[in-house]
Each structure stands twice: as structure tokens, then as C-alpha cells.
């Protein structure tokens, strides 16, 4: 075992980048497919908040992070189906439905969290004892540098590549073509016999699970606790990733890695001890970067034509 001092700063930076991009990528890749089918889901932030809280509460109760992760992810499905009901059945605009779900989620978690840890007791939230930690792959993890970056990762980081592969396949298959048709011309897709509602519902369910997973990762493996507004705009940054990635899985992966890198930088700069740099500047780095990247690259790709428009069959 090599001590931390001997290992270059950059190696740990890359390792953290891959680790911290996991929740971002889980949310972004699912949002990409959903946006391709023409649904703009702004409730990502709310889903992640609620599932983060659920995962935290279950883990604290049963001392089992895997159970917490599972239930947290399932709760994401529930919220996302509620989102589907709001925009498809009741007919609220997707932007409004997403935003109100996010506001609702922040109020709900704020209340439930205080209900759980109690008002009169100390305000510091309890740390989870059992969390989902690193998983070193035997032999490979002993390689210099590469072993630390790629093979001594968090459990979820190993899922990144299979997930990318899966979504790449879907994107380039016949199903992906149908989804794109729905996103471009829902009426035409409907007349071709593609069930617009069914496709959108299935995608929403998949997204609910993946987004819930992203939220659960935050509490069960990254922060190991819950705080108010723990997502801190991560859901909206995930939506930005889709725009930067131009609705392409590989480019979305690259932009997620970039932001994982920014998050890692933010953590590591604080450790390096730049005392002259106020910590607020490093903390606001992801948000500033989001705006700058949107200005620089936000316009290169055309979004799906019917993005944000709810399709209703004319009878």
C-alpha cells in the first residue's frame, strides 16, 4: 500500500473526477434519452433530492446502504410518474410541472428531515455508518497510477461504462430511431403506429430509476449524510450536460467527466490550502463553469423539435 504523500496530486484528481461524475452522468444520460423523446424534465433536482433523502432515511433505519440505494432509486420512479401525470394527463406545461415538483421536493425533504432528526436535538445530521465504498479489483488495482484511477473506484463508478454502452446501443438502434421520431414529430410518429405515450412513459420510468440512483449515490456514497438542498443544483447541471453534449451519449459522457473534474478540483483545491483564495470561489466554480460553457458551446446543436411540448392526439 502506497501512502498518499507519494502519489501525485493529478492521480487523485482524476480518481475523484471519475467518482464525482457518477451521479451527474446517471442523471444526464437518462435525461438525454427523455429529451430526445421530446420531454423536458426540469424536475431532476426534485427527484434527486427526494431519493437522496429516502436512501438516507432507509440506510439510517436498517443500516443497509444497498437497501437504501434500492428504495431511493424506486422512489425516483414514483416522483417521475407523478411528473408524467402532471404534464400528460393534467396538461400542465412541462417547465412549470418540473419546477413545481422541484420546489415541492425541497419543501418536503426540508420538513421530513427535521421531523426525523428532531427539532430540539442537535442540528448536526447523523453520519451514516454503513456506506457503499470503494471496491478494489484484485491484481488490477495494484498497477501504478492506472490501478488507483480506474480499479480502486467506488462501486457505482464501475457502472459508468456499461451504462454508456447501453445507452449508446439504444441510441443507435431502431428503438432510438423511434424515440428520435417522437421527439421531432410526435404526430407523424403517432400516425406511423409508434405509441408516443407508451414510449414516453417507459423512458420516464427508466429516468426515474436512474435519477433516483443518482440522488441515492449522493447520500449513501459521496456525502454519507443528508443536508438541506444537498443536490445544490446538480439536477440542473445534469440538464446542462445534455445540452453541452448535444444529445449524444459519448459527448454527454465527456462533458460529465469535465464537470466531475471541476468538482474534484473544487475538493482538492481546498485540501491544498490556498488560503488566499476564499473558499466561496472554489465552491461557486461549477455554477460559473455551467454558464460559461453554455455561452461557449450551448448553441452548437439543435434540440429536438418538440422539446417541452406535450403531445395530444387530435380526435
Amino acid at each position: 500500500m502506497v501512502s498518499k504523500m507519494e502519489i501525485p496530486f493529478l492521480v487523485y484528481l482524476f480518481k475523484d473526477a471519475i467518482w464525482l461524475m457518477t451521479p451527474l452522468f446517471f442523471a444526464a444520460i437518462s435525461e438525454m434519452l427523455v429529451e430526445k423523446s421530446g420531454v423536458l424534465n426540469l424536475s431532476l433536482e426534485g427527484i434527486m433530492l427526494i431519493s437522496a433523502f429516502t436512501a438516507f432515511a432507509i440506510t439510517l433505519q436498517f443500516q443497509n446502504p444497498y437497501l437504501g440505494f434500492l428504495i431511493g432509486s424506486l422512489s425516483g420512479i414514483l416522483i417521475n410518474i407523478f411528473f408524467y401525470v402532471l404534464f400528460q394527463l393534467i396538461g400542465i406545461s412541462q417547465t412549470l410541472a418540473g419546477l413545481s415538483l422541484t420546489i415541492f421536493a425541497s419543501g418536503l425533504t426540508f420538513f421530513l428531515f427535521r421531523m426525523m432528526i428532531g427539532y430540539a436535538i442537535s442540528p448536526t445530521p447523523p453520519l451514516l455508518k454503513n456506506t457503499i465504498g470503494e471496491l478494489a479489483i484484485p491484481y488490477l488495482s495494484d498497477l501504478p497510477f492506472i490501478g488507483i484511477i480506474f480499479f480502486r473506484q467506488n462501486l457505482f463508478a464501475y457502472l459508468l461504462i456499461p451504462l454508456l454502452f447501453f445507452f449508446y446501443i439504444i441510441d443507435n438502434s431502431q428503438i432510438g430511431l423511434k424515440i428520435k421520431t417522437i421527439g421531432e414529430e410526435p404526430a407523424m410518429a403517432d400516425s406511423l403506429g409508434i405509441d408516443v405515450y407508451k414510449y414516453r412513459l417507459i423512458l420516464i420510468i427508466i429516468q426515474g430509476f436512474l435519477c433516483g440512483a443518482a440522488g441515492s449515490i449522493l447520500t449513501t456514497s459521496i456525502y454519507n449524510t443528508f443536508l438541506d438542498n444537498i443536490t445544490a443544483g446538480l439536477g440542473f447541471i445534469a440538464i446542462t450536460m445534455v445540452i453541452l453534449g448535444g444529445w449524444n451519449p459519448i459527448k454527454t459522457f465527456i462533458s460529465c467527466f469535465l464537470f466531475g473534474f471541476i468538482y474534484a478540483l473544487q475538493f482538492r483545491i481546498q485540501m491544498l490550502g490556498f488560503t488566499w483564495l476564499p473558499y466561496q470561489f472554489t465552491l461557486s466554480l461549477p455554477y460559473v463553469a455551467t454558464i460559461i460553457f453554455l455561452v461557449l458551446f450551448g448553441r452548437r446543436y439543435k434540440p429536438p423539435s418538440s422539446l417541452g411540448k406535450t403531445y395530444k392526439r387530435i380526435k
Partner: protein
Amino acid sequence: MKVFFKIIKWREKLGVLNVLASILAVGIGMAILVLSLYMCQINISLGLQTIYAGSLGRYNSISETLLRATILALISYGLIISFTAGVWNIGAEGQYIMGAIASTIVCLTLGNILGYFLIPLAMIISVIIGAAWALIPGLLLVKLNINEVLTTLMMNYIAQYILSWLVTGPLQDKTSMFPESPYIPKQAFLPRIIPIYRLNYVSLILLILLAPLIHIVLGKTWFGLSLKILGSSKRTARYAGINVNRTIIISIVISGALAGLAGALEIMGVQYKLRPGIVQGYGYTGIVITLVGNLHPYGALLASVLMASLINGISETCQLFQIPIGLAQILQGIFLITVISLRFLFRFLIEKYSKVYGE
């Protein structure tokens, strides 16, 4: 049958139904409030009495509620204008923070020079800074077609970190242990109506006068009409000869300006110093108020008084009975979800039955 015919007649009066939706949503919210009091094992009548006492039952609580209501109402008047134009400005939080910062800086640096001009100057500067903070997402939306939801939200976080940096660094009161600025000079305090209560003339005048003003702007002027047309369809607006880009920019800038003014009122009328505690999610509460108030200034006025009294009353109840604070936050989420669901449900029902029974 008669009911259905009545519903058909109501079709022309969708506005009435929207008001009904708001009232119903408030009713449902209140029912949930009572239910949660019951679940927290509090005597319900005692709990409600405490909420009343903490919101409107004493002179001091009336003053506090109206102060809070002014800030919420100002933010939501601005949001009414931008939401009517279909611009989803969710950055009122950041614009409010920037307004608060600007007014603090003006009061602390120029406090002893200006005398009577200090209050108007600080207000004007904070309006300008709030507007400028909103102008950036507006320009990005118009010039580069970048979704304003994302940019305004990111700028909220940036504003929060700027505030956090200022109160721990350049503006920090060196004699205080807490991250907060020194008190602003006495001449910057907004003149109080009754010296022992914090309610001031400026807040009360703005609260009462701005609602009719916004109502006239939205209902009687060409600008208000163009906002409405733009909100219903961008294409129609273009055909009607409306300068779409300019209208979008103006609407988001007005909402930023009003949020900035709200920030100034929070500093000069409530806190008298800059501290992280000014960030209370007013921007998001403002969204709730705007939608519960049915995008109408009078509705927003009522909703902001309601929301302010709920926040004040519930926080007093929570302290008294030692229950978790946050009931107000969950209530505002419930208000929002129910009001939009009910409104669209009503419209859906009307569409359905007016088709079945003919016009």
C-alpha cells in the same frame, strides 16, 4: 344536467375558475396544516391560536407579517410580469441577494456623507444591481437562446456565494464573532410608523400602491398586452409586430429590479445589516405566490400576506411546541402542486363537457 350547462357557461369565465382553484388549494393546504398539527400531537385549537397570534394576533406580529409580505409581494409582482411573458425567471433569489448586497455597500460606504439622499440612492442602486443580475440571463436567452431556467438558477448559487464571501471577508464586522456586516448607519433605517415596531412607511406604501400599478400596466397598456401575447405564443407576437427580444429583456429586467428592491427593503427595513440569514428562499416562495395568486397582482398581494402570516405563525408555533420547523416550506409546495393541478383539471373538465353538450 344543469350543472354541466353551468360549466359550459363558465367556459367564458375561466378566470373565475382559476380563482376557485387558488381558494381550493389554500383550503387543502390548511387542511394539511391541521392534519400535521394533529400528527405532531398538538392540541389543534391551541396550535391554530398560536399561528394566529404569531401572524396577525398582536401589533408586533402584524408589523412583522406585513414587512415579510412586502418583500414577498415585491418579488412576486416582478415574477408576474416575467411569467406573463412566458419567461421562467427562477432567479429572483439571486436578484434579491444582489439587491441586498448593493444597498448594504451603499449604506456602509456613503452613509455619513449623503444624509437624506441615502435611502433613495441605496434603493436606486439596489434596483439597478438586481436588474443587471437579471439582465445577464435575459441577454443569454435572447442572443444565444440559452434556457433561462438553467442560467437564472446557476446565478442564484453564484449570488449566494458572493454574499457568503462578503460577510466572511471584506464586509465582515471585525468586532463580531458571526459572519455578518456591521450595522448600517441610523439614517439609512427606513422611517418607522410606530417607533417600537419595525414596520416602515416605505414598505407599507409599496405594498399598497404597487398592486394597482402592476394591474394597470398589465391590463391597460400596450406593454401589458404585448406581454400577454408573447406569453401565449411567440409566433403570434412576432406577427403582431411586437419586438419579441426587447419585450423579453424588459420583462426579466423589471422582475430583477423589483427583486433587488425587495433586497434593499430587507436590509434597510428588517435586518439593518448583511448576514447569511437574509437568504430564506424568498425567490422560490415568490414563484409559489405568483402561481397561487393566479398571475394577478391582487391575487399575489393576498397570497403574499397569507404566506407571510403562515411563515411567521408557523415558526412561532414550532418554537413553542418544539416541533420541526419546515411546515411552512412543505405547505408552499402543496399549495403550488394543488393549485396548478386543480386549475388544469378544471380546464380539462370544461373542454371535455363543452364538447359533449355542444356550445
